[in-house]
Symmetry: C2
Subunit: 332 residues, 2 copies
């Protein structure tokens, strides 16, 4: 490892914000030398004993995610926590916007010394988003943040990506009635630990309670997962505006995290998550390997097209794609 990486690691572990920001920029880069440096840095910082709480949060635009994160974050900081907020935003690649691009959306939280908010880079691609966010999360933990909130707008597969890197998953909803209800992507019911109906204040309070009851009813139709204690998943109301319900919701998050830690679920899930990341990296590495040789890459794309149009069988095509590798390895 170069002296530079060692120096960056040391400053990051000491909690120096500029070192953390620079390290995240490094993992976001697609340059080959930056990637190698990022991998060396992450390997240097790997620590099995780190126990930050990783919280995923999803919700469609307009439900008040920023206000909720700001209200919750300020409360956590006041309680002595150090809070990092990251965003998974595959839509920013298309719209040019970014859910956390404008820090003023969490102006008060961003001024806190014990909080760190990282906007989503503008031109991220989904595959890269998962790796980048996962690695940024590990860097925040190495820098001493004990709560990491990963926010997603829930486009495409992004909730699944986020649930695969977090310990507890929150779904934030707005009060709704009747036909407006079809707002939740189906897969989210599988991964949500807590459904939080926001804006339970003023005129919307009663409607928020009804929405909560609707979701509580839907959740009751589903089997308890083996990662859940009694009472999870639950549906609750909160108000980012008044702060109502926030303490109770966070207490539920902590109770759930404690139960999962004590029962061994967290250790098991984190090992499985890490194993999955390893598989993802292996696959990305193989793809890079196949793409590094133009003849091999062209062969792979031709075979993939034949499989997708039904003209070739997947097994035979994969065998043909890997054949040059097999021969190279045999002759090595």
């Amino acid at each position: 490892m170069s002296i530079e990486i060692e120096d960056l690691a040391t400053r990051l572990v000491a909690g120096e914000r500029r070192a953390l920001a620079r390290a995240i920029t490094l993992v976001e880069s697609t340059r080959a030398d930056h990637r190698a440096a990022a991998e060396a840095l992450l390997d240097r910082l790997a620590d099995p004993d780190r126990t930050a709480l990783r919280v995923g949060l999803s919700g469609t635009p307009g439900v008040g995610k920023s206000s909720f994160i700001e209200a919750l974050g300020l409360r956590l900081v006041a309680d002595g926590h150090r809070v990092a907020v990251l965003a998974v935003d595959p839509s920013s690649a298309r719209s040019g916007g970014s859910i956390l691009g404008d820090k003023t959306r969490m102006e008060r939280l961003s001024r806190e010394a014990r909080a760190f908010i990282r906007p989503s880079p503008a031109a991220a691609q989904l595959g890269g988003v998962a790796r980048r966010t996962r690695e940024a999360m590990l860097l925040c933990e190495a820098a001493g943040f004990d709560v990491v909130i990963v926010e997603t707008v829930g486009v495409g597969q992004s909730e699944t990506l986020v649930s695969r890197m977090t310990d507890v998953f929150l779904l934030l909803l707005a009060p709704a009635g009747g036909d407006e209800l079809q707002g939740v992507k189906r897969g989210i019911m599988e991964i949500a630990d807590l459904v939080l109906v926001n804006k339970a204040d003023g005129d919307l309070a009663a409607q928020a309670q009804r929405t909560r009851a609707d979701y509580a009813g839907a959740l009751r139709l589903m089997r308890r997962r083996d990662t859940d204690p009694e009472g999870i998943p639950a549906a609750r109301t909160v108000s980012a505006l008044t702060g109502g319900g926030l303490a109770e919701a966070w207490a539920e998050v902590e109770r759930l995290a404690r139960w999962r830690r004590d029962s061994g679920v967290t250790a098991r899930v984190r090992a499985a998550q890490a194993g999955q990341w390893f598989e993802d990296e292996l696959r990305a590495g193989l793809e890079a390997l196949l793409a590094s040789d133009s003849e091999l890459a062209a062969r792979l794309e031709r075979l993939r097209a034949e499989v997708e149009t039904g003209r070739a069988a997947p097994g035979a095509a994969a065998r043909a794609a890997l054949d040059p590798l097999v021969r190279a390895l045999r002759d090595a």
Copy 2:
């Protein structure tokens, strides 16, 4: 391709049942020479113009899956269809039993010349189950079956596996009330096109209607997928015993399949499924490649263990695991 494979392919396409049974035995085998023969056979039979309807069906034990499939299958056969039934049963590896092991469970259907029922092999493993079932399905289609029903008991990830190889997914439930309701695995709400509440006859008829309404309510909370026409997902009642609701349920399946075909959804989804199978085969091929060399395999397992226990970062470990391949390819 050997003459034997060509002969087997010809007899299978001619609809010879023994050739189909033998071909499925071939794709179920783990022997290397059988695998190579199976891949050659599947590649020989690949045909982009095949249009059999692939139906996935899930339901926990006791909901009456066999009776439902038998009643539906007999009706389809009477209507001129040729119906194949396959099982994805990861639990058989553990229990030694098999959901379709006892053909007497569908005695009448199994006697039909226009039906083909394939029991699940006893000692299947999940990874192999997906490949085997997918390949058996393609063989049934090549043999002229125009409806293939893939049944699963819904253990672990099996519904997801089945939904990734079928066009329409049915969830079969039994009538239930109150606390009994927590019976559905969460992920299934994401993939179900039709929720069918069985046993809507006699004393259970009213309870079946209530269960149907509960699920219809839950489905209304979720957003429509871009693969769905208006009104899908839907919840209906059926009775395998009296045949009530079966014609309507099948009409809905055909309406949905037609809509998806006409709107281009089927072509898009099938291309994506085939692409995913290619990725799966590439990964399996890579794993076989890494495992073929004992030094490489030991290295991979050591690195995986380090990642899972948090002592190494996934990216750096994957790079280290692939390094011998990179060097072999560079020196080839």
